[in-house]
Amino acid sequence: MRLTASDLACRRGGRQVFSGVSFFVASGELLTISGRNGAGKSSLLRVVVGLVRLAHGSLAVEGGDPELTIGEQAHYLGHQDALKPSLSVGENLHFWSRFLGAGPVGLAEPLAAVGLEALADLPAAYLSAGQRRRLSIARLLAVKRPIWLLDEPTSTLDAAAQQGLTELMRTHLAAGGLILAASHGSIGLDGARELQLGDTP
């Protein structure tokens, strides 16, 4: 599988956020997107997913399902966690796994992988920011999709959780997935290429 982007440009709120961005990511590869605040890292991810309109350029994915758009084959971990406070941890994860089409898969495994199995019945309103982030990561494990688009995935995580996330990303890449991650710091995986935003005109 290979995701290719050519000459992408994006406008938001009348402002040219970025232009002339080209990259490719293949199976088993991690591409880190870096840049100063406001360079357009989040916008680039949202453009790839299809939530923001492309002003110019093209996106293509080879080797995936030709019937589906990129967004329909991808997981997007944005700044927000997509959790309902009145539902429990288990109910939130159950909903997303069913809604995104996972089939009858158990939730114990994804919850255990992010260390939340003891909190399965706790209403999501009582979770800390790091726990909410981990629950969103559990969503990526509960539903199998080949492309992961992560926006500052380590932002609210403590050191142990960051290590855990790095391990999960390594497993995903080993299984043939590809990851596009926007981050200020380093993700901690060797062999990751970097795309620097903001130094193109």
Binding site: L51, H79, K84, S86, L87, H94, F95, R98
Partner: protein, 222 residues
Amino acid sequence: MTPLAALLVRDMRIAVRVGGGALIGVLFFLLVVTLVPLAIGPDLALLKRIGPAILWLAALLSSLLALDRLFAMDHEDGSLDLILMSRGPLELVVLTKGVAHWLTTGLPLIICSPLLGLLLNLDGPAEAALVLTLLAGTPALTLIGLIGAAISVALRRGSLLLAVVVLPLTVPTLIFGIAAANAAVAGPVPFGTPFTILCALTLVSLVVGPFAAAAVLRQEME
């Protein structure tokens, strides 16, 4: 469990738990209908004549109450992003949310309405006709309301815009609903005539509402 069934169950769960919209809609309905006879006074004949109209109006306003949070809540916590990335027509997702809204707001109103009809001095045939018209017409209120809910997605205080957009579109439903309820009791027009038009309005809104709301949502996620 299919994706849409999961969405239906989730929306209904949220609505009936604390802070959801279900209880508020019914309570508002009860309050409005209880206040009317207190405001008008013990003029039983007058209450009987305007009873159906008051109940319909209260049902309309109660439906509106929970509508502005329908998509805005999902937009605020990032769920709408993921919903737009799901494999399935957005129109069906929107319709499912509308069904969840009706089941948690419209249906409780319909169940309460016979009891409240007593407060407005309605008798048996009048109440039966009223319940039938509410059953046929409240889905239209929800489905048309979906359009307003989609328009006010990104606005924090979108309820006013929602009301301005939705209320004019619901006027035909209101008119024919009340006409049918009155026709069953008095009037030369048989109940069937305005009632079938009411059903037709609901069927039209079943198509127009979800398609228009989905188109608005796609346009707005920019």
